[in-house]
């Protein structure tokens, strides 16, 4: 296989990898807020169930979770899983990352001093004004480095989709490498992941810099 053909074949895998990446972020960043709210709920039952769920998600390998999300419907409910590969994959990624983000959000919010809430309360801000105008912007800045870490991990984690034989860049690299007895596909995949991570790190750094105007 020529280098050009190889690159072209892998190109479709790269697009799929990028797809997993963005869909996971779009799903998990907001879902994390929901999980964080349940995790900090005043209802003790809701709170402990959420806490246990987060513990399970964070305490088991993502690869295993992907298999469970994919094959679960079949083994548990005897449902057909035709066409379920991609949705199952994305749900697995989104839920996993949402739990990590939820804990990051919670840590950020808990690190805010009560003084900020009290100052806002005395000035007459409503609860939602306090959250969105005073608390959230500060929390966002504080948690940005942790979010960056997760996002960079996600770039690499997308390769776990190969467990479900989803044709993202890593799966394709493996296939081509086996059929062509060539090491080149892995090299290309490696360069791709590296560049993707570099882009993410660069973007996040720009945001962090833009928020440097206060401490």
């Amino acid at each position: 296989m020529e280098f050009g053909t190889m690159l072209e074949t892998m190109g479709s895998g790269m697009l799929k990898t990028i797809g997993i990446f963005f869909l996971t972020l779009i799903g998990s960043l907001p879902l994390g807020v929901g999980i964080m709210l349940l995790r900090t709920s005043k209802n003790k039952v809701v709170k402990s169930i959420t806490k246990a769920f987060i513990a399970v998600i964070r305490g088991t390998p993502l690869m295993l979770q992907l298999l469970v999300w994919y094959f679960g419907p079949y083994y548990l409910f005897d449902w057909s899983i035709r066409g379920w590969r991609f949705p199952g994959l994305i749900i697995g990624f989104v839920v996993n990352y949402a739990c990590y983000f939820a804990e990051i959000y919670r840590g950020g919010i808990e690190s805010m001093s009560v003084g900020q809430y009290e100052a806002a309360e005395v000035l007459g801000y409503t609860k939602s004004q306090t959250f969105f105008r005073i608390i959230l912007p500060q929390v966002f800045k504080r948690i940005l480095p942790s979010i960056t870490n997760e996002v960079i991990t996600l770039v690499k984690d997308t390769s776990l989709a190969y467990t479900l034989a989803y044709a993202e860049v890593f799966s394709i690299a493996k296939q081509i490498s086996a059929s062509q007895t060539s090491f080149m596909p892995f090299l290309i995949a490696g360069v791709f992941y590296f560049i993707a991570n570099y882009a993410v790190a660069f973007g996040m750094e720009r945001i962090e810099k833009a928020l440097k105007y206060y401490n």
Binding site: G115, G124, Q129, Y214
Partner: protein, 257 residues
């Protein structure tokens, strides 16, 4: 009468179990233009009293009235009730609070710290509020700091911004909880100067402070609190110069080196 607190009681759960009675039947009323200083040993309940007055803590008994609005009251069965959230909005406009730790909003510029609440809470015209804020900053000696961020200011400057932020809401009464305790002596002076200026302009104020000379100089009335009760109150010259209670004398003695 701007503020009337009657028979206020407040307890906290004690760490060893049971309850810790922090305010025991305290009454305090403040007239328009009055400057009241509250002094007393650590743990006597001074902050708790201010926090009850500003609704950061809920009372366990008694009543709180601002202007003519009874904001909190206790019925014959001893049940405390507060007015609705909506009615509370008006009452919250009557007072401001300056914290020991300033509690400025670090992500807002100095100007925005002052203008944000009048615009977003009171819904006032942004240009008008900005003009007033610039005047307030000038009066605080911070005319050139409008675009700075709190982290770029000294503690004394931050506290003056916090005072401006409170004043921008045009409160009827301003509470201070140890406004200079987090400051070095040189910075303390510049903040006390501002408060003194406000006193001369007959701003109604209640000031919790450990600055005895300052309390003596600016206030119309001094309250000495200990163990959750008002032990003695009156004209500053009398309370400082000729205290009637032995506990007051002991406390004041601890301030002479």
């Amino acid at each position: 009468m701007i503020l009337e607190m009657k028979n206020i009681r407040k307890s906290f759960p004690a760490s060893a179990g049971g309850t810790n009675e922090v305010l025991r039947d305290i009454s305090l009323s403040v007239d328009k233009g009055e400057v009241v200083s509250i002094i007393g040993p650590s743990g006597s309940g001074k902050s708790t009293l201010l926090r009850c007055a500003t609704f950061l803590e809920t009372i366990d008994g008694g009543s709180i009235t601002y202007m003519d609005t009874v904001a909190a009251s206790t019925d014959a069965n001893g049940r405390v009730s507060y007015i609705s959230k909506n009615e509370m909005k008006t009452v919250k406009g009557y007072f401001g609070l300056v914290f020991q730790q300033f509690n400025l909003f670090p992500h807002f510029s100095v100007l925005k710290n002052i203008t944000d609440a009048p615009v977003k809470v009171h819904g006032r015209n942004a240009e008008e509020v900005k003009a007033e804020a610039m005047e307030l900053l000038a009066a605080m000696g911070l005319g050139d700091k409008a675009d700075a961020y709190p982290c770029q200011l000294s503690g004394g400057q931050q506290q003056r911004v916090a005072i401006a932020r409170a004043l921008a809401m045009k409160p009827e009464i301003l509470f201070f909880d140890e406004p200079t305790s987090a400051l070095d002596p040189e910075l303390t002076i510049e903040v006390l100067k501002i408060i003194r200026k406000l006193a001369e302009e007959h701003m109604t104020m209640v000031i919790v402070t450990h600055e005895m000379n300052f309390a003596r100089a600016v206030s119309n009335r001094v309250i000495f609190m200990d163990g959750g009760v008002i032990v003695e109150q009156g004209d500053p010259e009398e309370v400082f110069g000729n205290p009637r209670q032995e506990r007051t004398r002991q406390f004041l003695r601890s301030y002479e080196q």
